[in-house]
Structure formats: structure tokens, C-alpha cells
């Protein structure tokens, strides 16, 4: 996993609530057996019309906006557990998703793939969304060590929560498998004395 410490970038505003993982990557693209290339189809049915032409109304197709931070509406990543959603978002080039609420499984999947979910208050999100929409050149700074997200050259900033263990993993680029394998003996001992 890639390490994550701080990031300064512009952002792409996705002003939609309840974005589910079926929208992030539709099921018909889940037939691949490796992790790569899902970025081509991220938000596929919003980015393209059914006849394959580009939907110029959709924000990812708006050349005004760029950057590796996605600012999304409330309750992001609900629905299916497909990790392909996190792969698609990272493969497209995002490193951070900001929302006021993340679905559990999506959050876990993101963290397991070096994609940082930054959960902010509704008020902060709405302020942030407005600034990014109205000024595409707005730069955001995400500092994982300090757990702060801020708008560069402005007073707007907020602290965000992250599980201490997950934070260490992100900063060092470790994953859970390493940790679990190092604890094999303990797991075997548990198996030997299971009470149920």
C-alpha cells in the first residue's frame, strides 16, 4: 500500500448525496479478475450516455475541475461491498474522498487501499462544496498526521477523526495482513481453546 502523509490538491465537487457503489462502478464491470483498470469505468453511467457519448454535464467531464480530492455529498459509498469501488476511485487518481458520512464497508475498503476517507461536519462540507464549485482553483490541504483538512489561504479548516491503528497503517503503508500473520501463534492458541 502507498504511504499517505499530507496532500495539497485541487478538488472535484460531486454534489450528490447517497452515492452508492453501483454508481461508482456498475456491476457489469466486475468481471475482471485483477485490480487494475477500474478507473476507466468509474461513475460510468454518469460520465457517459447510454450510446457511449460523453455526458458533458457531469462534473468529472468538466475540464474546469481537476485534482486528486473528491468532495462528495452526504452518505458516500453505501450499498454493495465491492472493493472495486475503492479501486476505481484510486485508479482514476483520487487519493482523498471528503464527505459528511461514509458507509462502513466503503470506508474500510478505502483505508485498505490507501484512499483516505475524510469525514467532516455537514456545515463544513456545504461550505467547502460551495467554495470548490464556485472556484475550481481552490486548493485543499489534507494533513493526516494532524488530522486536519483546510482550504489553503483561508480560515476554513476542520479536524477529522480516524482510527489510530488505521492512521499508523496509512502513514507507514502497512496493511492488516502483515499484522495478522505476525499474530498466527495467538490465533492458533485461540482455536485450541474456543469455548463455543
Amino acid at each position: 500500500m502507498e504511504k499517505f502523509t499530507t496532500l495539497q490538491s485541487r478538488a472535484i465537487p460531486l454534489h450528490i448525496e447517497n452515492v452508492d457503489t453501483d454508481q461508482i462502478i456498475p456491476a457489469r464491470f466486475l468481471k475482471a479478475t485483477d485490480r487494475k483498470g477500474f478507473g476507466d469505468n468509474v461513475f460510468r453511467d454518469w460520465r457517459y450516455h447510454k450510446d457511449g457519448t460523453i455526458n458533458t454535464d457531469f462534473v468529472l467531464n468538466d475540464s474546469k475541475y481537476s485534482g486528486s480530492i473528491l468532495v462528495a455529498g452526504d452518505n458516500f459509498g453505501c450499498g454493495s461491498s465491492r472493493e472495486h469501488a475503492a479501486w476505481a476511485i484510486t485508479d482514476f487518481g483520487f487519493k482523498v474522498v471528503v464527505s459528511s458520512f461514509f458507509a462502513d464497508i466503503f470506508k474500510g475498503n478505502a483505508l485498505n487501499n490507501g484512499l483516505l476517507p475524510v469525514q467532516v461536519s455537514l456545515a463544513f462540507l456545504s461550505d467547502l462544496m460551495q467554495r470548490v464549485v464556485s472556484n475550481p482553483e481552490t486548493e485543499l490541504v489534507v494533513d493526516l498526521e494532524k488530522q486536519i483538512i483546510s482550504v489553503k489561504d483561508s480560515e476554513l479548516s476542520e479536524n477529522f477523526e480516524i482510527d489510530a491503528y488505521k492512521k499508523t497503517c496509512m502513514i507507514n503503508g502497512y496493511d492488516d495482513i502483515d499484522y495478522l500473520i505476525n499474530n498466527k501463534e495467538q490465533i492458533e492458541a485461540f482455536e485450541a481453546q474456543k469455548i463455543y
Binding site: E17, P26, K31, R82, A86, I187, Y196
Partner: protein, 460 residues
């Protein structure tokens, strides 16, 4: 202070706790399928890590399988490769696989309970969010991502922070024609799609106590639709009766010993939940959804509510519905009875009972897709298939099918489908398709009438 059912099962599976961090939770049973496992197998192979406990894994092919001509080679090349890869991975790692055509094949959340793999008091995971279904047995069961599938392969454990606890109680007597699907659609319509996020939910009250195991599975299945990682119902005689005698259930004295343990699992009377809701059974009516998330549900007799939120409006625009509109008499051309929510034998009995002696409307394409090979056989043996045939319904072969439309079973652009599945997201059943979630009874009635009708009027 007493413990909840969830606490008892969780606590008995904690291997250790990391200071200021998550716990190592032991996983008893791991279910896998073709879509979310290949990358996990690859990862292990790349890192040279063996599968730790292959005999605690059960595999099936379901998401990507055709529902016609299962005896013939699969036409779609990518689908075929994905299934071949699953077979190869299982063989290489000595994992039991019930592949396409096997008498135990089926949707992972239908076949595992049928085989007695699912039991009270265990922990169970699968790379699929509807793993919550198995909580109906009083197990802790939840969906995981592919990285976690790899973790369980490698260690039979996961690193997790214990979720908070939530209890939804429903007491009273359900009205005629109100099915378990209506109960859970009602709960989600009241609580919203993220009320359960961060929580594990227990369903309590006489409504769930009186339900069959099939009904309880329908309810727990949709826990994820309110954001909860899982749902649970306390195991009781109904549970023990269901498990008894199944292929992988404990037998004889071993079974009795287990039952004695399972009886200790229900929530203690002095246990506290972080959040509680309760509803009256009498308030629930047959339900239907009108939007693009499962929380957008109304009683079938109600009209679409007013909401100024832009996401709400976007959703109605997608569905081509208007505020204040009633769905009664909406012409419907597609009906799907299937998915891990409603594809068990009881669901087909309900449908057959309604359909018997009637005919499917000419405008309707109706797909009946059993959840497993065993359900399919039972449908034929109980004579339900001949009822469906006579009425003009098509019984297909088991799989996820039009629930997520990964195979050829897709609803065309712009068409409505009254579906017994669990998700009405944009394009879930095919690009541009519009899903209306309902019970198997409402779905059957829609297919017969060719439009949505107020089923409650017909029954009273």
C-alpha cells in the same frame, strides 16, 4: 449489566485487542464467490502466503452465472473466465466449491443456510454486503471487501473495531398480506438508509419470534440497506428445528450440546443498547419503493411525499415519478421474483398461492429465479412449477440474475421492474432500468394485473 446477543457472540470470538485500536476477531465460516475473491487469491499468491484454514471456507458460483442452459458452456467470455478462475483457485487451495449445476449450488446467502453451514453463535463473513442475511440464525455475519477476504484467507481473522448496538422491536399482529419484506421495507422507510451505520442491529419482538427462518432471513438481509453492518435475531426453537438434520449441522449428542449453548445466547433482560427503536405491527401495510434508494418507500396505498432536497428530486426524475403521485395502476412490464432477499421456497409458495388459477398479464415479462438448486427442485416437487407454467410465468435456473444484472438478465432502459430484490439504485437491474422494490406477493399481483394494484384491498 447484562449482555446482548451481539456482545455474547462477538466477545467469544475476540483473539486479542490492540491497545487504542481494533480487535482481532476470529471468523468461523468464510463464504466466497466468483466476483470478490479472485483479487484476494492473487494477492496471497503474490505474497507467497498460503490459505490458513481451507476447510472453513465454502465457495459457490452465483453472481455472474446464466439462468438458462446452465448445462452448456457459458457464452460470455469474461464471465466464463471468472468462473474458471474460481474453480482453479478452489482446487489449488483445497476449498469446497459448489459450482454451476451442482445440487448444492445457489446464491451464497440461500445455499449456506440450507446446508446448515450457517449456525447460531458463529461468526461468518463473505465478500458480499448481504451476508447480513445469516444473522437470522443468531450468528454475527457481515459483508467484507476483497482486502479483508485476503486477510481471512491468510489468518481466519479480521481486525475490527466493535460496532455499536441497535435494537429494533416490532410487536403486535401483522395484517393480512403483510410479509417480512414489508416489515423491513417499512423499518428502512422510517429510519433511513444510514441510520444503522456503525451499528449491528438486533430485531426483537413477537413479530420476528413468530416468523419462519425464511422470513427472518429476508429481514436480516436488508439490514445493510439501513447502513447496519449486520442484523441478528435471537436463536429459538424455530432456528434449532431449521438447522437440525442439515448436511453440515452437528448431529446427535453434539447437536444437543450445541442447542444447550445456543439457548444461552439471547440478549439478557438487563442489557443496554446504544440505540433503540420500536414499531407497532398494526401500522405496517404492504410496501413499495418509488425512488433510487431503499429508504424511499411508502405503503402501497400512499402517495409519493414532498421533499425539496436536490438528491430526492434527482431520484424522482430518474424514476419519472412526481411528488404526490400514487403508484397504483402504474403499468409495469417487468417483474422479478428472486435474489437473496426473496428466493426461498416460502417466497415461491406465496407467489404460487396468489397466481394459482390466474394468468400473467400479456404485457409482462416475469422471471422467477430460485435462490438455489435445492429451491428449484422443491418448486418442481411441490407442484409450484406447473402453477407457474399454466399462468405463463418463466421459471429460470438459480443465481443472482436480475438483482444486479451481471449476466444477461437485464431490464431494458427506461422500463420499470417490480422486483423482490433489495436495491433500487440507478441502473442496478440494467442501464437505465427503474426498480420498484416489493414483496413476492405484490410482485406476483403486479405480474397478473400488468400494473401495480393495492393488494391490501384485495385481501381484506
Amino acid at each position: 449489566m447484562g449482555k446482548t446477543l451481539f456482545d455474547k457472540v462477538w466477545d467469544s470470538h475476540v483473539v486479542s485487542t490492540i491497545e487504542n485500536g481494533p480487535q482481532i476477531l476470529y471468523i468461523d465460516k468464510h463464504l466466497i464467490h466468483e466476483v470478490t475473491s479472485p483479487q484476494a487469491f492473487n494477492e496471497l499468491e503474490d505474497r507467497g502466503i498460503p490459505v490458513f484454514r481451507p476447510n472453513q471456507i465454502v465457495a459457490t458460483a452465483d453472481h455472474n452465472t446464466p439462468t438458462l442452459h446452465q448445462d452448456q458452456p457459458i457464452k460470455d467470455e469474461l464471465s466464463r473466465k471468472q468462473l474458471e478462475q474460481l474453480s482453479e483457485n478452489c482446487k489449488k487451495n483445497s476449498i469446497t466449491l459448489y459450482e454451476l449445476g451442482h445440487k448444492y449450488n445457489g446464491i451464497v446467502h440461500v445455499m449456506a443456510p440450507e446446508l446448515g453451514v450457517t449456525q447460531p453463535g458463529i461468526t461468518m463473513v463473505c465478500g458480499d454486503s448481504h451476508t447480513s442475511t445469516h444473522g437470522a440464525f443468531g450468528a454475527i455475519a457481515f459483508g467484507i471487501g476483497t482486502s479483508q477476504v485476503a486477510q481471512v484467507f491468510a489468518s481466519q481473522c479480521l481486525l475490527l473495531t466493535k460496532p455499536k448496538s441497535l435494537r429494533v422491536t416490532v410487536n403486535g399482529k401483522l395484517r393480512n398480506g403483510v410479509l417480512p419484506k414489508d416489515v423491513i421495507l417499512y423499518i428502512i422507510s422510517k429510519l433511513g438508509t444510514n441510520s444503522g451505520t456503525g451499528y449491528f442491529c438486533e430485531y426483537a419482538g413477537n413479530v420476528f419470534e413468530d416468523m419462519s427462518m425464511e422470513g427472518r432471513m429476508t429481514v436480516c438481509n436488508m439490514s445493510i440497506e439501513m447502513g447496519a453492518r449486520g442484523g441478528m435475531i435471537a436463536p429459538d426453537e424455530t432456528t434449532f428445528e431449521y438447522v437440525k438434520g442439515r448436511e453440515f449441522a452437528p448431529k446427535g449428542e453434539e447437536f444437543d450440546k450445541k442447542v444447550a449453548y445456543w439457548k444461552t445466547l439471547p440478549t439478557d433482560s438487563d442489557a443496554k443498547f446504544d440505540k433503540e427503536y420500536s414499531f407497532d405491527a398494526e401500522d405496517i401495510e404492504p410496501m413499495i419503493t418509488y425512488g433510487t434508494n431503499p429508504g424511499m418507500g411508502i405503503k402501497i396505498s400512499e402517495t409519493i411525499p414532498v421533499d425539496e432536497n436536490p438528491s430526492f428530486k434527482k431520484s424522482l426524475a430518474y424514476m419519472n415519478f412526481e411528488v404526490g403521485e400514487s403508484l397504483i395502476n402504474k403499468p409495469i412490464n417487468f417483474v422479478f421474483i428472486g435474489s437473496c432477499t426473496n428466493s426461498r421456497i416460502e417466497d415461491f409458495r406465496v407467489a404460487a398461492n396468489y397466481i394459482k388459477g390466474k394468468k400473467k398479464a400479456a404485457n409482462v415479462t416475469a422471471w422467477l429465479v430460485p435462490g438455489s438448486k435445492q429451491v428449484e427442485t422443491q418448486i418442481i416437487e411441490e407442484g409450484l412449477k406447473s402453477i407457474f407454467d399454466e399462468a405463463g410465468f418463466e421459471l429460470r435456473q438459480p443465481g443472482c440474475s436480475a438483482c444486479l444484472a451481471m449476466n444477461d438478465d437485464k431490464i431494458p432502459q427506461g422500463e420499470y421492474c417490480v422486483s423482490t430484490s433489495n436495491r433500487n439504485f440507478e441502473g442496478r437491474q440494467g442501464q437505465g432500468s427503474r426498480t420498484i422494490l416489493a414483496s413476492p406477493l405484490v410482485a406476483a399481483a403486479t405480474a397478473v394485473e400488468g400494473k401495480i394494484i393495492d393488494i391490501s384491498k384485495q385481501l381484506n
